[in-house]
């Protein structure tokens, strides 16, 4: 089967039930997308499928056809995506493990809600766990990326 990731098409020979997460990590070597729970509960594996935030651990590769997949490696080539810039400006990451997923979630969310309220941010980001507790800065970074006044 064929899979388009970050603008590049790959021909794959993997069983159709394999989750996209493990195809990205083990087969394609795109390890910026992280494994956190395997149940779609933590958001560490979030990628974009046709611009929508999707938990790649819950997306069997066989369910994907011509959709365009974007991972953290493909969000920008030089950390220039507004969400990445805001993440740097607010110094969000601590351990950083969940941040690929957080950034992909935030980027998809802002694509659809360019001027979110705090409650909308909390709602949109509540599926992404950060054990270092960077939530306070994630909120600020999303507001910054949205061009809103910082809390």
């Amino acid at each position: 089967m064929n899979l388009t990731v970050n603008g590049k098409t790959y021909e794959l020979d993997v069983s159709p039930e394999t989750p996209l997460l493990w195809v990205l990590r083990d087969t394609l070597g795109l390890r910026g997308t992280k494994f956190g729970c395997g149940m779609g509960l933590c958001g560490a594996c979030t990628v974009h499928v046709d611009g929508n935030a999707v938990r790649s651990c819950q997306a069997p590769i066989g369910s994907l056809g011509t959709e365009k997949i974007t991972t953290i490696e493909g969000l920008s080539s030089d950390r220039s995506h507004p969400v990445q810039k805001a993440w740097i400006a607010e110094q969000v990451p601590q351990c950083g493990y969940c941040q690929s997923g957080q950034i992909m979630q935030a980027a998809a969310f802002l694509g659809k809600h360019p001027h979110p309220t705090r409650d909308e941010i909390d709602h949109a980001m509540s599926g992404n766990i950060c054990r270092c507790g960077t939530y306070h800065r994630i909120r600020r970074a999303i507001q910054r990326a949205a061009g809103e006044a910082v809390l």
Binding site: E73, Y97, R131
Partner: protein
């Protein structure tokens, strides 16, 4: 645990031709046994203990020793070094120091010790390098070195304005005789240009573009992937298994039993309990195939000695031990029983804190390659040197033949100071003779953690007619952590196995008694961010709040009145009551203490001193009629001595607050049949963004030595929230987590 490098002298040297001339500042140690193993230095002349390398192209490279787990360690080390070396810190290249513990003595961290342990030595390394460069420049110019000054990566001859970039001085500096590190004075605080100013973390760019390499991201050619089906019952064992279907799973290469590992005599650390569960390993070509193979296993476990253990049975025993004779008396000042009898008012309270998991976002993993006479490991660990020792002991190889690469860690909070998962990776790799990455799934992580201990406090206090505190008695009953990983000998010392450090209240009281009674459990326990502080502060700081109310006093004012410098409290050793008062006062001020809030809302205050840092939190909560509790805002004031990177101190405090909220608002590990009942984030709910408060951190300016900041934000948070719940609703929190049932009693 954390050894400090002995800085005896420094040498410059040239590296081999492969890297061109380079100035390396090293600390020479008398023991040179492993010197030739230094892979990164390629030096032929001596075995340096080196942190700094400068090449003719002006590139400064720093070898950092301590692990980066999210706490900002690398940034702190670069700031400390660049401050003295007088270079732009953003251009510095970072390398993780190799596991050569005879040279690199601080390949580990724990006890919020990262900044503290680097404070002197890392600065000295920078100062020595600078001194050598200045001397080299003076020599080349044939001037007095007093006329020369280092600035921004160059040495300047002040009278003439001539200058040499550091790279131009490499060769001359390399020929200089030794300079004693202790002979080079360190900068005074007033001259700091980096220390104390917020800087951007050096690892942020790699953590926003997916390029940061964690343990799970290690990829070695021909690497296989493994998972282990572990015995879910602590102390239980594998009776039999059928791996036929697992072997037939596409991609699975091997299925074999893995023995549990117990106490091991690790040469430099004595006997340590590795505490692995044992089970059946499934090795496959991909992680997914290994996980699928594991699902196809048919396993028959024996429940073992913990079969009857449940959370209810543990609670019954804790309640019994809360009134049984003590095992260890920690504090006995004055005559507490008499003072309690004489008190005009006597208050008693109990507080219960169940097991809590670490649940780091990156699950445990280690990649191992067992070759003939050599083992290589890549591990997200807090303790590379211990892992090296452990695997050397297990395998019988000399330490020099065990190479440990300490990778970035996706969180730790104390979890990665355990040696279980690296040992398991070695066990698996030994069988497959090929590099193999052992990965824990989230279920493995939640069910095989080393949990925060189960604690139960009983406190009794006495007040006189004027509402003054006259007696304080505190029984700590808990499942202590030492028996899990320490040697049997060390446990014969009751103090060693007691969890009462930090239980002596800072508050003035003429009669204080603190003791301890342990409860046995099969559940593994160990360090959980702030260790005993995380539950002792809950007892002490909730109870002082109860006493304040019983005395008809404001909880903030009551604390302040008991923190005067009158020499009447026990924990005087090193304790500075003025610092306590300062953080409390500022926290109260910044949090609008005393200002009215709407009905159902309340503020709670708590403070704690740990790892040298003084912290006060004020939590503001709102409660709803359906029982929902929301922590809306936390104001935190920190005195941690010099804040090397104030933004890092803020980040650590924010993180500690959110980390501490999980066992308050959500997660609880419960036990049935000697096994953990929870398995993933659906039944072990950790704090999410919609539950997290707005956080304000204020740092008290200080030029004193830095104190620890990785953990101190945790202990006062839970009591601040519980006290806020009381302020909001008049309900005392006796047990964590705070369930909705408690608050439904409107």
């Amino acid at each position: 645990m954390i050894a400090q490098a002995q800085v005896s002298r420094r040498e410059f040297l040239k590296t081999g031709a492969a890297t061109g001339a380079a100035l390396v500042v090293g600390f020479y140690l008398p023991e040179r046994s492993h010197g030739q193993d230094s892979q990164n230095l390629q030096t032929k002349t001596f075995s340096p203990n080196a942190w700094v390398r400068i090449t003719p192209d002006n590139q400064v490279t720093v070898l950092v020793e301590r692990p980066e787990m999210g706490q900002g360690q690398r940034t702190v080390e670069i700031v400390l070094l660049a401050e003295e070396l007088e270079v732009d810190f953003s251009g510095i290249r970072i390398e993780q120091a190799p596991t050569i513990p005879d040279i690199y003595k601080s390949l580990s961290t724990g006890g919020s010790n990262g900044t503290r342990s680097g404070w002197d030595n890392v600065r000295k390394a920078g100062a020595q390098a600078r001194e050598g460069l200045v001397r080299a420049a003076a020599q080349l110019w044939r001037v007095d070195k007093k006329e020369c000054r280092a600035e921004n990566g160059a040495v300047i001859h002040v009278p003439t304005g001539r200058h040499f970039a550091y790279g131009e001085l490499v060769e001359a500096a390399s020929r200089l005789p030794e300079i004693s590190a202790d002979a080079v004075p360190l900068k005074e605080a007033k001259d700091f240009r980096l220390i104390g100013k917020p800087v951007a973390r050096v690892d942020t760019p790699s953590k926003v573009d997916g390029s940061a390499q964690f343990g799970i991201d290690v990829n070695v050619p021909d690497m296989l992937h493994a998972v282990i089906a572990r015995c879910p019952h602590f102390g239980g064992k594998l009776v039999s298994f059928d791996g036929a279907d697992a072997k037939r799973t596409p991609g699975v290469r091997a299925v074999f039993p893995v023995a549990p590992l117990g106490p091991l005599d690790i040469c430099s650390y004595g006997i340590r309990n590795l505490n692995t569960a044992g089970g059946v390993a499934v090795v496959a070509e991909s992680t997914w195939a290994a996980i699928q193979g594991r699902k196809a296993l048919r396993l028959n476990w024996e429940k073992g000695p913990g079969a009857g253990e449940t959370t209810a049975s543990l609670r019954r025993e804790l309640e019994r031990q809360a009134i049984a004779p003590p095992t260890f008396i920690s504090v006995d000042r004055g005559d507490t029983p008499k003072a309690l009898d004489d008190a005009a008012k006597q208050i008693e309270a109990t507080y219960e804190l169940p097991f809590a998991a670490h649940a780091t976002m990156e699950p445990m993993n280690t990649t191992a390659h067992v070759r003939d006479g050599e083992i290589e490991l890549w591990s997200p660990t807090q303790w590379a040197n211990v892992i090296q020792d452990e695997i050397a002991t297990l395998s019988g190889l000399p330490k020099s033949k065990v190479i440990v690469h300490m990778t970035l860690s996706g969180g730790s909070f104390g979890r990665r100071a355990q040696w279980d998962y690296a040992a398991e990776a070695w066990q698996v790799a030994r069988e497959v003779k090929q590099p193999v990455q052992l990965l824990w799934t989230r279920e493995d992580d939640i069910q095989h953690d080393f949990y925060r201990e189960y604690a139960y406090h009983r406190l009794t206090g006495g007040l006189d007619k004027q509402g003054k505190l006259t007696a304080w008695s505190h029984r700590v009953a808990c499942t202590p952590i030492r028996p899990v990983f320490d040697s049997p000998e060390s446990l014969q010392d009751p103090q060693h196995s007691a969890e009462v450090d930090g239980a002596d209240p800072p508050y003035s009281c003429p009669n204080v008694y603190v003791d301890f009674a342990p409860v046995h459990s099969v559940v593994p326990r160990a360090w959980w961010r702030s260790v005993e502080g995380s539950f002792l502060a809950f007892g002490v700081e909730c109870f002082i709040d109860e006493l304040a109310h019983a005395a008809g006093n404001d909880p903030y004012e009551f604390r302040m009145s008991l923190l005067q410098d009158d020499g009447k409290s026990g924990s005087e050793q090193g304790l500075n009551k003025r610092k306590f008062r300062d953080v409390l006062q500022l926290a109260a001020e910044k949090a609008d203490w005393g200002k009215p809030l709407p009905p159902g809302c309340g503020r709670g205050i708590a403070c704690y001193w740990s790892f040298g840092s003084y912290i006060a939190h004020v939590a503001e909560v709102s409660t709803e009629r359906d029982g929902a509790l929301r922590v809306r805002r936390v104001v935190s004031v920190v005195n941690c001595g010099t804040a090397v990177n104030p933004d890092g101190v803020r980040a650590m405090t924010e993180g500690a607050i959110n980390f501490a909220l999980t066992p308050v608002l959500g997660g609880e590990i419960t036990i049935k049949d000697g096994a953990v009942e929870q398995s993933n984030f659906h039944d072990y709910p950790v704090l999410r963004i919609d539950q997290s408060p707005v956080i304000e951190v204020h740092i008290v300016p200080s030029t004193e030595r830095p104190a620890g900041m990785g953990e101190p934000g945790v202990p006062p948070l839970a009591p601040a929230v519980a006290n806020a719940v009381f302020a909001a609703r008049g309900i005392r929190v006796r047990r964590l987590p705070i369930g909705t049932r408690l608050l439904k009693k409107w």
